[in-house]
């Protein structure tokens, strides 16, 4: 009886998987394999691919060795990830804690904070281009207001010079990072909110009775039980940050002076503007290898995060 139940289970499994898996195989997995094959070719999309062995990968290696543009894009992408992930996650957690503190109007806050996520990234990028505009933008206007306030308070003529933001090689990437954190906040906040609401009240109450302070409660109860949520957000954030593209393309197109070009921006340019699809595929798989390795490391670190509570 056990044997036929097992095969029946297997057959049902295959049946369930079949339609979705067929489409997934055809339109996702096979293209990934095809793209991998293309990374060993010279391919301009219009004519047939032409096998060139590891030449594309060698070119990437040379580029990294000589601090070429792909190397710069790796650095910029890492800068972007380091800038958006820790701060973004911390802010989202803080926000979720605030919203979860039993206030009224939770759904209004939730909607407002999620608004940036609902709008297309292209539209958001364009609005932020205005915010960063050196002459008409909101940010420089705020600097003017601050200058005036400071002058009034101190009695001296204080002037914070208007900044060029997106046209300044040192400020462009931080500007994009700030805008991305703003955008992703709602998304992570909602996920954290859910995680928080999964923590039973009675634990907090028991701790309160025992005289625990807010910080102690957070450290001993909230944070450990949130670990799985944090892990999920982290993995998804890493995958997302490493593939950042739309904001860069719309706001700075990789400039100024290659300060904001990211890996996927390089991939896009090489694939669709320079018609070097093979080289772009090679870059994509280098990226894949990096993310895969990071995920493995993440899994190792996160092991043992399961917390049992009575």
């Amino acid at each position: 009886m056990a044997a036929s139940a097992a095969t029946r289970e297997e057959r049902t499994a295959y049946l369930f998987l079949a339609p979705g898996l067929a489409l997934f195989l055809l339109f996702v997995m096979i293209p990934v394999v095809a793209a991998f094959y293309l990374s060993f070719c010279r391919y301009d999309i219009i004519h047939s691919p032409h096998w060139i062995g590891t030449a594309n990968y060698q070119r990437i290696a040379r580029d990294i060795g000589s601090q070429g543009v792909f190397c710069v894009s790796l650095r910029n992408t890492a800068q972007y990830a380091l800038g958006t992930i820790p701060l973004g996650m911390a802010l989202a957690l803080a926000l979720a804690l605030l919203v979860n503190a039993g206030l009224r109007g939770v759904s209004i806050y939730r909607t407002t904070y999620y608004l940036p996520v609902v709008t297309s990234l292209v539209a958001i990028s364009m609005v932020w281009m205005w915010i960063y505009d050196p002459s008409y933008g909101l940010l420089n206007y705020l600097l003017v207001l601050i200058s005036r306030a400071a002058s009034a308070v101190t009695g001296h003529h204080v002037l914070i010079a208007p900044q060029t933001w997106l046209a300044n090689p040192k400020q462009a990437m931080p500007a994009i990072i700030a805008m991305s954190i703003w955008r992703g906040l709602g998304y992570n906040m909602v996920i954290y909110l859910a995680g928080l609401q999964g923590i039973p009240e009675h634990l907090h109450e028991a701790a309160l009775i025992d005289g625990a302070s807010k910080w102690q409660r957070f450290r001993a109860i909230t944070w450990p039980l949130l670990k799985p949520t944090t892990a999920f957000i982290f993995v998804v954030s890493v995958i997302g940050a490493s593939q950042v593209f739309a904001q860069v393309y719309v706001m700075t197109n990789g400039g100024p002076n290659n300060a904001t070009t990211t890996i996927v921006h390089q991939i896009f340019q090489n694939a669709f503007s320079f018609m070097k699809m093979g080289y772009a595929s090679a870059m994509a798989f280098v990226l894949f290898a990096i993310i895969f390795m990071l995920s493995l490391i993440n899994l190792r670190l996160m092991r043992g995060g399961e917390v049992e509570y009575v």
Partner: protein
């Protein structure tokens, strides 16, 4: 409802959506990238109906594609076998299109047509690759030096600057600064490879060798040109700074009365007309300064025909129709560009009314020069732009930037294989 049934319904719905299309009368696909509302009104309501009236049974489907996505759309439509019959492309495209078999050479049509000599040479050459013609020029943008006559006079100059030294001197004299903020920039210059090319040519330099296979960007002429460009920014400080309207941004610098001069194409006049019409009588156009030679760079957008087109004769008819002097003038009028045909430039109302535009035409005719036709322009302009930016933002000296890029360029040009397999 059982899940299986739902699944079947879903699948059949999707399958139905893929049903074939009905056969129409002869349809021409026409893609335009330079347009605004007036252009669309002109094309959709006047020109296309006129053409369709002349050719009964023919329908022209016009699509307006943004420049930002033209490259991808063209590539994929050719790859998918659904390329447009006639499409508009930019100044750097002829080499790449011809090399990849994405543009049809129209030598026979042009020879039979006989209107070739009516076009300005600088405009016409934009459509030529290896002595074959691949399209018809549709709009042209020559560069010139726009300057404020009143400010120049006030600064003590009788005539516009004619050499680099004069340019730097005039710009410095006319720059007004208030602490870190520039109130009036002596010279409005975007950070652009096109400006560098202008200076390069003025200095007698070249981007490529004669055979187009090697870079000449590490030559002294090129380094001098880039040095001059960088000096305008970082040594003479005559260029706009933060707090000023962003170049290429919302409101143009020159038209906001925050710059005394600029190297700009005829669109600079349009900006004045739109944002500061009272300045119009005070603005004049001079040739860009010369060093070893006088050159005006001209960028032309043109119409190409797809080799995949099933109606090449008709596609040619459309191209010829659109470039008839009257129609060409009307199109360029909507966008404020110079019609690439002499007869059109002369007859156009908006051209005749503007003395500044007439100046531009004169410069274009006498000194105009277009980019050399090379297949790798898309990569080159990106790489060159990076090199220019590196020099201007100070992360490399002009010599370093150009030497480094020159090496890259040589490697890029060496990669070009015989076009037969198109790889």
């Amino acid at each position: 409802m059982k899940p299986l049934r739902l699944l079947l319904i879903l699948v059949s719905l999707i399958a139905l959506c893929g049903c074939g299309q009905r056969r129409q009368a002869v349809e021409l696909e026409f893609w335009l990238a330079d347009f605004n509302e007036q252009t669309r009104a002109l094309i959709d309501k006047q020109l296309v109906p006129q053409f369709e009236a002349k050719h009964p049974g023919v329908k022209v489907n016009t699509q307006y594609i943004s420049w930002a996505h033209l490259d991808e759309k063209l590539t994929f439509s050719f790859a998918g076998g659904v390329a447009p019959d006639v499409f508009q492309v930019g100044a750097e495209y002829v080499g790449g299109l011809a090399y990849r078999g994405m543009a049809q050479s129209i030598d026979e049509y042009v020879n039979r047509w006989g209107a070739k000599d009516d076009f300005f040479p600088a405009s016409w050459n934009t459509c030529v690759y290896q002595n074959h013609v691949y399209g018809l020029p549709y709009l042209s943008a020559p560069r010139g030096l726009l300057y404020r006559k009143d400010l120049l006079k006030a600064a003590g100059f009788e005539r516009p600057p004619d050499t680099w030294e004069e340019l730097a001197a005039a710009a410095q004299r006319m720059t007004v600064r208030d602490g870190p903020v520039t109130e009036m920039a002596g010279m409005n210059l975007p950070v652009s490879w096109q400006i560098f090319v202008e200076f390069l040519w003025e200095n007698g330099g070249r981007i490529f060798s004669d055979d187009g296979r090697r870079s000449e960007l590490n030559a002294p002429a090129a380094v001098e040109a880039l040095q001059f460009y960088v000096d305008l920014y970082n040594k003479y400080h005559v260029c706009p700074t933060a707090g000023m309207p962003q170049i290429g941004g919302s409101v143009p610098v020159f038209a906001s009365k925050k710059a005394a001069m600029e190297i700009m194409n005829q669109f600079g006049i349009y900006n004045i007309t739109k944002y500061a019409p009272e300045l119009l009588p005070l603005v004049d156009v001079a040739p860009t300064p010369k060093r070893k030679q006088r050159v005006i760079s001209v960028y032309t957008d043109w119409l190409a025909m797809s080799p995949q087109s099933r109606h090449k004769d008709l596609a040619w008819e459309l191209m010829a129709f659109l470039t008839e002097p009257k129609n060409l003038a009307a199109y360029n009028a909507t966008l404020f560009f110079i019609p690439p045909r002499r007869s059109a430039a002369k007859s156009a109302d908006f051209m005749q009314r503007s003395p500044q535009l007439q100046e531009f035409v004169g410069l274009m005719d006498r000194y105009g020069r277009s980019l050399p036709a090379i297949p790798e322009w898309f990569e080159i302009r990106t790489g060159l732009q990076s090199a220019i930016e590196a020099a201007i933002y100070g992360s490399k000296t002009p010599r370093q930037a150009l030497n480094d890029y020159s090496r890259e360029l040589d490697a890029l040009l060496a990669e070009r294989t015989a076009p037969a397999d198109g790889s």
